[in-house]
Symmetry: C2
Subunit: 379 residues, 2 copies
Amino acid sequence: MMAGMPLLLMVAVLLQAPAPDDSRPASTNVLNAQYPRIHADGRVTFRLPAPNAQKVQLQPGGADNGLGKGPIDMTRDDKGVWTVTIPPAVPGFHYYWFLVDGVQVNDPGSETFFGWARQTSGVDVPDKDGAFYEARDVPHGEVRVRWYLSKTTGAWRRAYVYTPPDYDRNMKTRYPVLYLQHGAGENETGWTKQGRANLILDNSIAAGSAKPMIVVMETGYATRAGASPGGQAPPNAFEDVVVNDLIPMIDATYRTLPDRENRAMAGLSMGGGQTLQITSAHLDKFAWIGSFSAPMRNFDPKTSMNGVLNDAAAFNKRVRLFWIGAGSGEVAFHEAVKQLHTSLDGLGIKHVLFVSEGTAHEWQTWRRSLHDFAPRLFK
Amino acid sequence: MMAGMPLLLMVAVLLQAPAPDDSRPASTNVLNAQYPRIHADGRVTFRLPAPNAQKVQLQPGGADNGLGKGPIDMTRDDKGVWTVTIPPAVPGFHYYWFLVDGVQVNDPGSETFFGWARQTSGVDVPDKDGAFYEARDVPHGEVRVRWYLSKTTGAWRRAYVYTPPDYDRNMKTRYPVLYLQHGAGENETGWTKQGRANLILDNSIAAGSAKPMIVVMETGYATRAGASPGGQAPPNAFEDVVVNDLIPMIDATYRTLPDRENRAMAGLSMGGGQTLQITSAHLDKFAWIGSFSAPMRNFDPKTSMNGVLNDAAAFNKRVRLFWIGAGSGEVAFHEAVKQLHTSLDGLGIKHVLFVSEGTAHEWQTWRRSLHDFAPRLFK
């Protein structure tokens, strides 16, 4: 709060002068912040006051970020305010930050989003086909923050749990569960904050395309009790959290259908890799698998996924959905997933290939992936 | 996520070298960030790499911040890493940021917290008496993110709703509700993220000191449908949201006890002022009132609170609890609340005065306030 700050000053802080054109503050801005602004044609104007800086740049997060290739120089006005307007951006959510004389600086006008192993700024550029992830006048589910004690790590963990609309009214209904994982450098907040998974499910359920389901979003890092902490945990530590701690907690806490036919797992990038490992090692627990832009560099259908692709008949019988996807703009991931598609066809493995046209290794690819994937589940 | 970032580099980013002493990373740090670090005696070490900067300073948020009076100069080493260790800090949560050649910069090692009308860094300094807000091995409630459409504003709003442990098991139990508001420049996330309200309730309920209750935390800003947006809304716009939109939605959505005897409101600073206004204007809806460090500069017992203090007998009969508090370290608020206490005694108005010893206009005052206030409710 602002102790001792006079009300008028407070108002002045919150209200910046709007720009005199057709642009509008981004939906990802904090309350009343006027910048960044999105123009009708998709251009984006960024702004940062830094009177003493020698150089201020806009840095989109990642090499194939839809805001363009950074760093992008900004221009100083005579009051020390730096601005830049970039050409029409790719629709969707983009991480970014400023470089002020080389130091990473978040945009004070932006909400923060956990990515790149830190809280960074982000801007959501509207998509003309983006109604599927907007907050619309349909019944909304809840996102619940659930604390639980993990035996594997010996520590409290926090899961985000989406419950569908009317979960608290249909007291005798039990629901299938999708476990949904974020990418490297992100955490359990990513799928709802950047990905809008709750709104995608709300809209898909309202449209009748997806079955009502519970979605569980956890943090894909784990350190075994007693071990020294590391950034990227050995995969099997997180695997043990999912199998031994998370699933039993979810099934004991929520009205789930606790069998493999009603349990799916999907994840993006690193989370896609974790999904392929964990589901294939525990086909007794999962029947639905989604790999959203998983790293495939070392994928070998003979040995990866614990070898389960070697027996197509058995795999096709047990796995109800094997969904692989990528964006056409993330070249390596796109090539790899097309190659996997060819391999799977050769092996006779039933699967669904999805390509998000024009989007790269970014959240718009994964919003679209979830929007395609979720309606195929539990049917 | 970190597209194309090799695993080893990712690990290097996440793992910084720990400092060789008894200090530990703050609990408010992001995953694996080593700074800021808290020493056993309460000193705190801050660190920021900024090789090209001429001057880097630590800026605690607010004049009476428990980290000290800022800006505090930091020292550059030969690699361009700036550090400072401050004397033992006041226990509790403190907003802060860096000034890099005058530009506000969040600490990449810190989580972000919405305060000062932007996402800022924050550090939680342990309190030897702080077990009441720690995550302990007791039954935990949930914090639910609930979207709803407000008729007053014509827009979707987001409430955070704490449901007590076993809410989903005791299907015939109905619960009383506490409406709990943040301060100016903060939002609906403050009471759980900075204030740990959910953990305070979990622990108080487990100890048997507080009755199980629902806690509703909303954003204390509102702009009427069709009006141009402002930072600080006219108080009655938010009042209308609470009375006409929020309370009916909560009573329709959750198993509440929907009468005044089972409805409380409290808030901190600006939220305390809103509480005094809204409860006194709607004593048909609220019987329990908590003012945590409310601004009292213009408070007049004759005219403030819609004049309800003029009739002590009627007030004492209707209001089951009138709780006023402040920290001894927030001088003006402390003096004002003591003066109000004297006035109320003179008027014969029953009330509870609470003073948080040694804390200022900061969240430790309000954690302690909630810890004292919640157990007095609904009994």
